[in-house]
C-alpha cells in the first residue's frame, strides 16, 4: 500500500522545495542580514525580525481571546450541556471552522476596523484587529481538540469524585481538567499553529506595515502576510527571500505540531495502557490464516473502537 505514504511523501516534497528555493538565499546573505530588522528587498536587505515580532504579537493576542472562550465552550459541550443542546451546538462550532478566512477578513474590514477607528483611535487596521479576528478563527481548533481530550477522561474519574460529594464544577476543575491536561495543552498549541499560519484574514485587517508595534493599535506585518503580499510581483532574490520567510514559518509550525503531538501522544499512551491486551487480540485476528480459518477463530475480538 504505497498510497499510505502519500502524506509523508508530500510533506517531504514540500520541505524539499521550500528549502531549495529559500535556503540558498539565507546562506548567501547570512543569518545576520536575514534576522535583522531591515526589510528592503530592493536594496538586498532581507531582515524578517519585525515580521516574526508581528506574528508573535497577533498569535498571543489571539490566544488571550481564544483560549478562555475555547476552553469554556469545550467544557460546556463535553461536561455540562445536556445531550440535546450538544447535538445542536456542536455543528455550530464546525460551521465556524468552515467559514472561509477571507470572509472573516471581510467582516474585519467592514465591521471591526471602523469600530476600532471611531472608539479606540488609530488607523483601525492593527495588531488588535488581527488578534480579535484570529481569536475567533482559532476557536474551532481549540474547542474540537479540547472536547476530545475531555471525553478521553474515563467516566469512573467523574463518578468517584461526585460520589465523594464534590460538585460538578469541583469535579471538572480538580479531576477532569488535570486528567485531560496534556490534551488541552495540545489543543492550545495547535490553535497557536492555526493563528501563526493564517494568511488572508490577517492581511485584510493587520495593516501590514513593516514596523515595531508600540501599542496594540499599531499596524503589524506577519510572516504569512509578508509572503502573500509580495509573492505576486517578487522576482529573483526577493522571491527567494519570501521562500526563506516560508522556511521560518514552516519550521515554527512543524515545531508546534511536534510539541502538540508529543503532548497528545502521552495522553493516548496513558489512556490505552490498560487495554494493551486488546491490541494483542487484534493482532491475533490479523495474523489468523484467512482462507480456511475454522469458524469462530477470527471472532475473538470485540475491540474495534480505540
Amino acid at each position: 500500500m504505497l498510497l499510505a505514504f502519500s502524506s509523508i511523501t508530500i510533506l517531504a516534497l514540500i520541505t524539499l522545495f521550500i528549502f531549495r528555493e529559500g535556503a540558498p538565499l539565507m546562506a548567501r546573505v547570512g543569518l545576520g542580514n536575514f534576522f535583522s530588522t531591515e526589510w528592503r528587498p530592493g536594496e538586498g536587505l532581507f531582515g524578517i525580525s519585525l515580521m516574526i515580532v508581528g506574528s508573535t504579537v497577533v498569535t498571543f493576542g489571539a490566544l488571550v481571546l481564544g483560549v478562555p472562550f475555547g476552553l469554556a465552550c469545550a467544557i460546556v459541550l463535553a461536561e455540562m450541556a445536556p445531550d440535546r443542546a450538544r447535538t445542536l451546538l456542536k455543528p455550530v462550532i464546525e460551521i465556524l471552522a468552515g467559514i472561509p478566512s477571507v470572509v472573516y477578513g471581510f467582516i474585519g474590514i467592514v465591521v471591526l476596523l471602523p469600530w476600532i477607528r471611531s472608539n479606540l483611535g488609530g488607523p483601525g487596521a492593527s495588531a488588535l484587529a488581527a488578534s480579535l479576528i484570529l481569536g475567533i478563527m482559532v476557536l474551532p481548533t481549540i474547542i474540537g481538540i479540547s472536547i476530545d481530550a475531555l471525553q478521553a477522561v474515563p467516566n469512573s474519574y467523574r463518578e468517584a469524585s461526585l460520589a465523594m460529594g464534590a460538585t460538578r464544577w469541583q469535579t471538572i476543575r480538580r479531576v477532569v481538567l488535570p486528567a485531560a491536561r496534556s490534551g488541552l495543552v495540545a489543543a492550545i498549541i495547535l490553535g497557536m499553529g492555526r493563528a501563526v499560519g493564517e494568511t488572508m484574514a490577517v492581511i485584510m485587517v493587520a495593516g501590514n506595515s513593516v514596523q515595531m508595534p508600540r501599542s496594540p493599535l499599531d499596524p503589524v506585518r506577519t510572516l504569512t502576510a509578508n509572503i502573500a503580499l509580495e509573492m505576486g510581483y517578487a522576482a529573483g532574490d526577493h522571491q527567494a527571500a519570501l521562500f526563506a520567510t516560508g522556511i521560518v514559518l514552516f519550521a515554527i509550525i512543524m515545531a508546534l505540531n511536534t510539541v502538540a503531538n508529543l503532548a497528545r501522544g502521552r495522553r493516548v499512551k496513558r489512556a490505552t495502557a490498560p487495554a494493551a491486551g486488546a491490541e494483542d487480540l487484534q493482532a491475533a485476528r490479523d495474523d489468523a490464516p484467512q482462507g480456511e480459518s475454522p469458524p469462530g477463530a477470527p471472532g475473538v475480538t470485540g475491540t474495534q473502537r480505540p
Partner: protein, 286 residues
C-alpha cells in the same frame, strides 16, 4: 489544602457562578457566528441575482457577474477531491485494515497530522514552485487542483479512517468465514458500509477547497477571465480569490457582499449536509 481555609464562596455557589459564566461564553461564541452569517447573507443575498450568477464579470468585477469564476471554482475543487479521495482512502484502508499500530503507522499518522497543520500559504508557495514552475503547468486548474488535493488529504484520511473503523468487526468476520479474501471483504463489505462516512470526508474536502484562498491564488492564478475555462491548463480565479480582490481593492462593495453570500451559503450547505450524513451513518452502527 490551605485554600479550603480561606474559601468564602460555598461550592454550590461557585458551581452556579461558573455555570453561568461558561454558558455565557458559549452563548457569545454562538452569537458571533450567527452575527457573521446573518450579516453576510443579509447584505449579500439581495445582490445575488440571476444576472450575477450567469454573467461574466465586466470592468474588473465592478459590473457583471461571476459565472466563469463559479465554473473555475467547481473545476479546481472537483479536480482536487478526485485526486485526494483515492490517496486518502488508500491511506485509511492501509491504516485500519492492513496493519496494527507500529512504527510505520505512527509515521503515516505523523505525516497526516503534520500536513493538516501546514498553513495554506505554505501549500501555495510549494504549489507555485513545484507545479507552476518546475513541472511547467503554469497558473492553471491543474496546478491549483493538485495543490488543494494535497491540502485536503488529511481531512479525507481522517474521516475515512473513522468511517472504516466504525464498521463492526462482525461484518468482516462474516465475509471472511464465507471464504472471501481479505481484499474481497474490504471492497464488497467494508467500503460499501463505510461509504456515507467516506463521502462525508470528500464533502468536507470540497468545503475546504472552495473556501481556500492563499493556496490557490499563486497556483490557479488570479487573472480575471471573461470566458469559462475549457481545459485543465487554463488559469482561473476562484470565488474566494475573486471575493478577496473585490474586498481588498475596494472595487465594489455590492459585488463583494454578493460573492461573500454565495461563498457562505455554499459552505453552509456543504457543512450541514456533511454533518447530517455523518450523524446518520454513526447512528446506524450504535
Amino acid at each position: 489544602m490551605s485554600t479550603a481555609v480561606r474559601r468564602r464562596v460555598s461550592p454550590r455557589q461557585a458551581q452556579a457562578l461558573v455555570s453561568v459564566l461558561l454558558w455565557a461564553m458559549m452563548a457569545t461564541t454562538v452569537l458571533v457566528l450567527a452575527f457573521i452569517i446573518v450579516f453576510v447573507l443579509q447584505r449579500g443575498l439581495p445582490h445575488v441575482t440571476w444576472e450575477f450568477l450567469s454573467q461574466p464579470p465586466r470592468a474588473s468585477g465592478r459590473e457583471g457577474g461571476v459565472w466563469p469564476i463559479i465554473v473555475g471554482t467547481l473545476a479546481v475543487t472537483l479536480f482536487a477531491v478526485a485526486i485526494a479521495t483515492p490517496l486518502g482512502l488508500g491511506t485509511a484502508i492501509y491504516l485500519t485494515e492492513f496493519t496494527r499500530e507500529n512504527r510505520f503507522t505512527r509515521m503515516v499518522r505523523f505525516g497526516a497530522d503534520s500536513l493538516a497543520g501546514v498553513p495554506s500559504i505554505i501549500f501555495g508557495l510549494f504549489g507555485f514552485v513545484f507545479f507552476v514552475i518546475t513541472l511547467g503547468f503554469g497558473w492553471s486548474i491543474l496546478a491549483g487542483g493538485l495543490t488543494l488535493a494535497f491540502m485536503v488529504l488529511p481531512t479525507v484520511i481522517r474521516t475515512s479512517e473513522e468511517a472504516i473503523k466504525a464498521v463492526p468487526a462482525g461484518y468482516r468476520e462474516v465475509a471472511l468465514t464465507l471464504g472471501a479474501t481479505k481484499w474481497q471483504s474490504i471492497v464488497k463489505v467494508v467500503l460499501p458500509s463505510a461509504l456515507p462516512g467516506i463521502v462525508t470526508g470528500v464533502i468536507l474536502g470540497m468545503g475546504r477547497s472552495i473556501s481556500e484562498t492563499a493556496a490557490v491564488i499563486f497556483t490557479a492564478g488570479s487573472s480575471l477571465s471573461q470566458v469559462v475555462p475549457t481545459s485543465l491548463f487554463d488559469g482561473t480565479r476562484t470565488l474566494s480569490v475573486h471575493f478577496y480582490q473585490l474586498a481588498r481593492e475596494g472595487i465594489s462593495a455590492e459585488k463583494a457582499y454578493a460573492s461573500a453570500a454565495v461563498l457562505v451559503l455554499s459552505i453552509l450547505v456543504i457543512n450541514v449536509s456533511a454533518y447530517t450524513l455523518m450523524n446518520r451513518f454513526i447512528r446506524r452502527y450504535r
